[in-house]
């Protein structure tokens, strides 16, 4: 028998009011909603125990809690508190899904009673109003995701007759017949069978398959040949481990493979190549410390500190469960930071979402006959926004910088970027803090959460396109508080005691990845899978090994330190377990109850992967430049441009993300009196140091429709330009690359990729801005059906995100985007060309065009150097890099931010609409105080494209060439209304 505690709120409840507001426009009969928090305790507690629990769950000022037990009447006043209602809906988690509220309720119960009990959470809504079945379904659909949650409904009468909602305890029931490992019969398998195993997974005894290995025939043949030479079949653990380790997600095979004439592959040749050449060229000015070799990249911050950065993607999981995918993305990349070097302290988060238009009702299906529908763009947007909110805010890490980009081709595969910047003293325990290596004899210690079936096949799954067979177990939910506990314990206490030789996080691939990688430095490992703590019994050894259960770190700990380390963790409420040993015998070994279940050489595990030479083709896209009449009303066009999704304000996101925690914010995401959403932010992550970190991001996915070469250059130039405009010094600016591609098995897509990589190689070298970390995600395709059963393949536009991290010596050199005083001079730096191809303007008019923005690298570099110099002298009162929507939008945003106005005259080299909306790169608008005119112009004297285009005015209106005349409040309304209701 179980006990259920229902907590009613007697005062006005913001949660309930907000639900009412959300649903009333869609459901006319809806009168009232109440939200009841429910905690269900699995075991029956004694009366005094349950009384204490109830007290601990209830706020006596505003709430009243009731005990509900089968066959017993609740307290006398239950009926009066419940009162009249028409429908009850309850949302709870499915078995095995992370239930954070339940977890806290369990800890609270343990505190109160001094003993452990299983507690789970759910939420009940009591609704007043005449609702149809369709209304009920609408509410249920909006409030739960059937992949991870259950939703139950009862009308009032049934509720009364049943004495309430009933008691539900979600419990994982694994029907595995005993736990054992199988050999996979591979030695005599035909190619056909090899393909089937690679695609659908190892066969169970009943003929079902375990889920995709994501292994090509070539890989399967390599495995077969290897085990033939050993004279035995692989175990299921071995094959799953190889699938994991060799996955695109972990090995980045597309970037590592020879491609056309480039034998060393795109990554070594272009990305690492650029960094190596830049570091050599910079000589003593090289600021890189640890690049491409760890969970993040690290550069010099100041004399005492190193700053690290890493940006991850979490795309496929976010398509299935946007909240879970996004929260797991952000807390996952936090762990990359903690797993950098000896462990860096997370000090800044950043985010980015590429989504379909949330106002559109687009639906596709993963299966035929309308089976397995995609989530609506609105649901995905709200979910991913909430996921980063929950993960970032609860972790106490400020999340100042981010972006949202919209294109309907992200409908089936949204992109979710999550990044974390960390700081770590350059020297820890007398040694450079970026150095680490597991030593033979070190114990393998895992800390944090226990292992469940979460995210089985996450790594292999993210390496394939989403389709009908996409596994629901790939979905998981992060638990930021469990992670915060060990983060504090490690970064703020244990790290500086020197108790471990190496540390890394458990992300994609779980233990198989973390132990496999750490074992490379010692030369092998021997791990006992039966020592790994489980969330529930019955998991198979291979599942334990590759599970991606969140909130875990792995450490290499000298034997003599193990006891002390585990005790220190325990004092901070963190569990840690000794699960094996790093060795130097060259073998990757796993045991299950003393029986060997995996025994492969480290060499085959890491280097046995067959090389797949790639060939590419390339065809430039684009159309002829369109011919069309200049708009008659330029003011109206500007208003329409400001309202576009890729231009309008994203303040609703920024206001939900805590960007002030840690007290480090200097320039936040919302700037100026008029509150404009900024492209770059500045922070002071070490309170005792005046140094600042400037963060920026750049991307231009639609440019790929014409040429990925220019898409990639625009992404890089934007990231650099945004950072420099905000006060960065181009001489201390590093970049990160996140490559999200599609259909990467097609030569044409690979050709686009090669062009993009060659482009950023050259541009980064000109700017002397090294890449320090990166990540790729190569199959962002949706394959399914439309409502009429027509097969659908939607590929995302090839998307490159470049993130910039700049270091400035004094945060006083930060430059905000808002003009500050009437009479100040407005300068346009940079050249505007007829480059509206793939721009927001052409898209607005329904054109693609051909003239995608191109640029002169050396000219742009000269500009950024000059502006960096002006930044050091604090000459720019305000600066805004020109981005999507061109000059027109940038001038409007500056006016809105200032609350003032501007009188602007642009030259007539181009037709005014093209002048206003061309997206030529390499442009920045600054305002300068009149007394600084000479000093500023002197700094800019070596740069050819400096134009004073107007002045800041007290009159709150933007006037351009007598053609645009817009009151600033009207501009503001246009800029803020599109997403203002979210």
């Amino acid at each position: 028998m179980s006990q259920r505690i229902e907590v009613f709120t007697l005062f006005e409840d913001g949660r309930a009011k907000t639900l009412e507001q959300n649903f009333t426009p869609k459901i006319s009969g809806l009168k009232k909603i109440r939200v009841i928090d429910v905690y269900t305790i699995e075991e029956d507690l004694a009366q005094n125990q349950i009384d204490d629990c109830i007290k601990s769950f209830e706020n006596p000022v505003t709430q009243r809690a009731f005990l509900i037990e089968d066959g017993k009447a609740p307290a006398n006043d239950y009926e009066s508190v419940v009162g009249k209602f028409d429908h009850a809906i309850e949302i709870g988690f499915l078995a095995g899904v992370t239930d954070n509220i339940g977890h806290t309720a369990q800890e609270l119960t343990e505190l109160t009673l001094g003993e452990k009990h299983n507690v789970c959470s759910s939420r009940m809504l009591l609704i007043n109003g005449k609702l149809s079945e369709a209304d009920i379904n609408l509410i249920k659909a909006a409030l739960h995701n059937p992949l991870i949650q259950r939703a139950a409904h009862k009308d009032a009468e049934t509720f009364q007759n049943d004495n309430g909602m009933g008691i539900t305890i979600p419990k994982v029931q694994l029907d595995n017949q005993g736990v054992a490992t199988d050999d996979v019969k591979l030695l005599d398998a035909s190619d056909e069978e090899l393909i089937k195993i690679g695609k659908e997974g190892i066969a169970n005894q009943d003929g079902t398959r375990r889920g995709p290995l994501g292994m090509s025939l070539l890989y399967m043949q390599a495995v077969q040949a290897h085990f033939k030479s050993l004279g035995r079949n692989p175990t299921d653990v071995e094959l799953e481990t190889l699938a994991q380790t060799w996955s695109e997600h972990c090995k980045h095979t597309i970037f590592a493979s020879p491609i056309d004439e480039i034998k060393t592959g795109l990554y070594k040749h272009y990305i690492k190549g650029a960094t190596n050449e830049i570091r050599t060229a910079r000589g003593d000015d090289d600021f890189c410390i640890s690049v491409f070799s760890d969970n993040a990249g690290g550069i010099i911050f100041d004399d005492n500190w190193m700053i690290s950065d890493k940006v991850e993607t979490h795309n496929s999981p976010s398509a299935l469960d946007p909240f879970g995918g996004a929260i797991t993305g952000i807390v996952g990349v936090n762990r990359d930071c903690m797993g950098f070097g000896q462990g860096a302290k997370p000090v800044l988060n950043r985010y980015g979402f590429c989504l379909a238009d949330p106002r559109k009702d687009i639906e596709f299906y993963r299966g035929k006959n309308k089976m397995n529908a995609t989530l609506s763009p609105d649901t995905i947007m709200k979910g991913v926004v909430a996921g980063v909110e929950s993960g970032g805010n609860q972790s106490g890490i400020p999340t100042p910088q981010g972006f949202m980009y919209f294109d309907d081709r992200y409908v089936g595969k949204p992109l979710v970027f999550a990044g974390t910047v960390g700081v770590i003293p350059r020297i820890v325990n007398g040694k450079p803090s970026h150095e680490k290596a597991a030593q033979p004899g070190d114990r393998i210690i895992m800390c944090g959460g226990k292992v469940g079936r979460d995210g089985i096949h996450g790594a292999t799954f993210s390496s394939v396109a989403l389709d009908e067979g996409s596994p629901a177990t790939a979905v998981q939910i992060g638990d930021p508080i469990t992670q915060k506990k060990f983060s504090d314990a490690i970064i703020k206490e244990i790290r500086d005691l020197g108790l471990y030789n190496a540390i890394t996080d458990n992300g994609a691939g779980g233990l198989a990845s973390s132990v496999g990688e750490m074992g490379e430095s010692s030369g092998g490992f021997n791990l006992a899978l039966d020592k790994v703590p489980l969330k529930y019994p019955g998991m198979q050894p291979w599942e334990i090994w590759i599970s991606e259960s969140q909130e875990r770190m792995t450490m290499a700990v000298p034997k003599e330190n193990v006891e002390k380390l585990i005790a220190l963790f325990a004092k901070r409420g963190v569990e840690a377990w000794d699960i094996g040993e790093f060795t130097n015998d060259g073998q990757a070994k796993l045991t299950w109850e003393n029986e060997t279940v995996m025994d492969m050489t480290m060499e085959f595990l890491h280097d046995g992967i067959p090389e797949t030479p790639l060939v590419t083709t390339f065809t430039r896209g684009g159309e002829a430049e369109p011919e069309f009449a200049e708009p008659k009303d330029h003011t109206a066009t500007l208003m329409e441009m400001l309202a576009r999704l890729n231009i309008c304000s994203k303040e609703f996101v920024a206001a939900q993300y805590d960007h002030n925690v840690q007290g480090s914010a200097v320039l936040g995401p919302i700037q100026g009196k008029g509150r404009v959403f900024a492209d770059a932010t500045v922070s002071r992550p070490v309170l005792d140091s005046k140094y600042g970190a400037v963060l920026s991001q750049g991307l231009a996915p639609r440019y790929s429709d014409i040429d990925t070469h220019h898409m990639a250059r625009a992404a890089l130039d934007s990231a650099v330009r945004f950072a420099v405009a905000a006060g960065a010094d181009i001489d201390h600016l590093a970049l990160l690359d996140n490559i999200c591609w599609c259909s990467s098995d097609e030569p044409e897509r690979l050709g686009q990729l090669k062009r993009a990589m060659a482009a950023i190689y050259h541009l980064a070298k000109t700017y002397r801005t090294p890449f320090i970390s990166g990540k790729d995600s190569m199959f962002n395709d949706f394959k399914g059906y439309d409502a009429d059963n027509n097969p659908v393949h939607i590929a995302i536009p090839p998307t490159l995100l470049i993130s910039g991290i700049g270091v400035i010596k004094d945060v006083a050199q930060a430059v905000s985007l808002d003009p500050k005083q009437a009479g100040d001079l407005v300068y346009l730096l940079g050249e505007t060309k007829d480059e509206c191809g793939a721009s927001e303007y052409y898209d607005h008019l329904g054109f693609l065009g051909n003239n995608v923005p191109e640029m002169n690298d050396d000219v742009n570099y000269a500009l950024y150097r000059a502006v960096s110099k002006a930044n050091k002298q604090q000459l720019c009162v305000s600066a805004l890099a020109v981005g999507f929507g061109g000059l027109g939008v940038a001038l409007a945003k500056k006016s809105i931010a200032s609350g003032l106005g501007m009188d602007i005259i642009l030259d007539d080299a181009l037709r005014l609409d093209k002048m206003l909306y061309s997206e030529s790169q390499g442009r920045i608008i600054v305002t300068i105080a009149p007394q600084d005119k000479d000093a500023f112009e002197k700094i800019m004297s070596d740069y050819p494209h400096v134009q004073q285009i107007g002045t800041v005015t007290d009159n709150p209106a933007l006037n351009i060439n007598g053609q645009v005349a817009a009151a600033t409040p009207d501009l503001e309304r246009a800029y803020k209304s599109t997403l203002g209701g979210y």
């Binding site: 706020n59 000022v61 805010n393 508080i481 901070r572 604090q874």
Partner: protein, 274 residues
């Protein structure tokens, strides 16, 4: 010698470093102490003059923000917190710390009933987390924390910051001058208007004290607005100072609370005396 300040941490509290930085900056000998270490030795409080429960997300706000951490403090520290408050000490609960201290019943403690929950801090009216800068008016002239402060411009960042209570309690708080801080709009009452009152808090309440004024809780974050460079209008202030040929003051509003605490214990005098 100097006065000692303790900043409590653990289980998802997260603003301990910047809060400690504030105490440290004004001359306190400051220590960040994990709640489990304090629980091992509650006597530690005997040697401390000021404590802070800082902001954060203890236990993920689950079961009501501050609720589970308050239960942990209640069960592990026993009466030692009440004894601490009974001495001539200062206590400040900020944001999540405010929720914890309210749930512990250490504030408002009307009629000296320390330990009884008398007010609640619940979900924002918008049911949404809000991170933004706000203005507050100081209403209480006697609390040691708030001496010589008229207004405060600091940020809020919370999902559950709405003070709620019975009317009777509200009237008593008013009568006793225990409403310490109210959200304001251009120097006037915010009158419940969003975003000036960011959470729909009853009577625009942003912070309250116990009857002595030595225990202060507030939802906004003074420790994130201690210095000019932290302010949302930093760029504008910097520009103005430059035009006026003046140096921009390092300090901003938030540091004043910490300075008042230092003043209360004569920290500077103690330091000079060595």
């Amino acid at each position: 010698m100097t006065a000692r300040a303790l900043v409590i941490t653990g289980y998802g509290l997260n603003s301990e470093e910047e809060t400690a930085h504030g105490f440290d900056h004004v001359g306190f000998e400051t220590e960040i102490l994990h709640i489990n270490d304090l629980a091992d030795n509650p006597k530690e409080l005997d040697n401390v003059q000021a404590i802070s429960v800082p902001g954060g997300f203890s236990y993920g706000d689950d079961t009501g923000s501050g609720n589970a951490f308050a239960q942990k403090m209640r069960l592990t520290l026993g009466d030692s917190l009440k004894e601490f408050i009974a001495r001539d000490t200062l206590t400040i609960g900020i944001c999540n710390g405010c929720q914890v201290v309210v749930n512990l019943g250490l504030v408002p403690a009307i009629n000296g009933e320390y330990g009884a929950r008398q007010v609640a801090v619940t979900h924002n009216a918008s049911a949404r987390y809000q991170c933004r800068w706000i203005d507050m008016k100081v209403e209480n002239k006697t609390s040691p924390w708030l001496q010589n402060i008229e207004t405060l411009h600091v940020p809020v960042a919370h999902g559950e910051g709405r003070f709620m209570m019975e009317d009777k309690t509200l009237n008593t708080l008013k009568a006793n001058d225990q409403i310490a801080l109210r959200y304001s709009k251009n120097g006037e009452s915010a009158n419940g208007e969003f975003p000036f009152n960011p959470n729909g808090s009853t009577d625009d309440i942003a912070g309250i004290t116990d009857e002595s004024g030595r225990v202060l809780v507030l939802m906004p974050h003074p420790e994130r607005g201690m210095f000019s460079w932290q302010r949302d209008d930093y760029a504008a202030l910097k520009d103005k100072a430059r035009r006026d040929g003046q140096a921009l003051s390092d300090n901003s509003d938030g540091i004043k609370l910490f300075q008042n605490a230092a003043e209360y214990f004569g920290v500077n005098a103690m330091k000079k005396a060595g």
